[in-house]
Symmetry: C2
Subunit: 226 residues, 2 copies
Amino acid sequence: MEPMTRMVPQVQEHLDALKERLLVMGGIAEEQVRLVTAALVRRDPELAARVQASDPPLNDLHIEIDQRCVRVLALHQPVAMDLRAVLAAVKINTDLERVGDLAVNIAEAVQRYLLHPPVSTPDHIPLMADLAQQMLRDALDAYVRHEVPLAERVLDTDDQVDALKAQVSVDLVPVMQAVPSTIEPALDLILIARHLERIADHATNVAEDVIFMVSGRDVRHHGAAS
Amino acid sequence: MEPMTRMVPQVQEHLDALKERLLVMGGIAEEQVRLVTAALVRRDPELAARVQASDPPLNDLHIEIDQRCVRVLALHQPVAMDLRAVLAAVKINTDLERVGDLAVNIAEAVQRYLLHPPVSTPDHIPLMADLAQQMLRDALDAYVRHEVPLAERVLDTDDQVDALKAQVSVDLVPVMQAVPSTIEPALDLILIARHLERIADHATNVAEDVIFMVSGRDVRHHGAAS
């Protein structure tokens, strides 16, 4: 057996392990988004507290994945698609860790929101949360399966999330103007919508990294169509 | 001359070029923050428009630096500190590009804010902007000079920025409650304070990457003291 043929499966094992860990991390991040939205909808401060308490596992994974990336680069010097896959993992790892942070930020805003009587809210926020979770799932599936069309779908969905976020403020400002006591809780709803939009942005970053990894085509700053 | 002695300077040249490009990018990002804050303070919509128009140079640098990182990893297979320096560059590049995006977001909020009569504002926002610029400058200097104490100073300053951001909302909520016509412009000030806080967070990310690069010590998720 030649040295080269022994080396390739080793890199592949590392890449498979990276994928597996990123999927675990993505699953946790997605679950955090689901739980914190449920805490808001059901007015459940204990559920919000659970999300606030569950950040460390994501942080541990973040450090572990980063170390795996350094190790595979140092030991195996991957090139071409394999190199791009490791660099994508470095970036995806950062994005998923931020999603975890944002879920914690949302949980804090939910806690404050629940101190007040409910503000009549549209369904935009739970819808944003559903879309953001779907985007995270699709972006990671696209990474694992090297599926560019799925990554491109994530980019398209981001526009919907942006529109919903804008609508949340448009709907709430007149409520705040009419009833001053709604100002504080409405501020937290606007903040939650912004955090969800940022989660969708992180899913979009992942999708862009996947497109670059697979095709070598850089869609950042130019949109999916260019 | 041995092959090794020829190879080391080549990697070093690539790393120096990376540093130089990151400094250029950091300088542009910092200037964007300075200009957009001046646009707010002087109520100058044209200056805000200039910031909105000046994003493409940062985006071009972002793509160029990313490609340089891929190239140096593929051609030179750096190890140890050099490898960590390239991976830090990949991450710092992402952070600086986001700072540019945030400056554009602030410019948009400034444009909306200037459509209304001024809300009596504290000096917290310009102070946050000054601190954020200083943090960006220090974090990049720490990267270039491999100076851990300077990076640690950036982490300390982030707490000040967080406190100022919280104070902006605390100060503005009673104003909004007393005068409903201030709600829309005050919302934009709160948003601007949050964007500045995120810029400071990106500087913090850079500082953490520098500490990891130089010392191999991971201060993320544990604070500078651990």
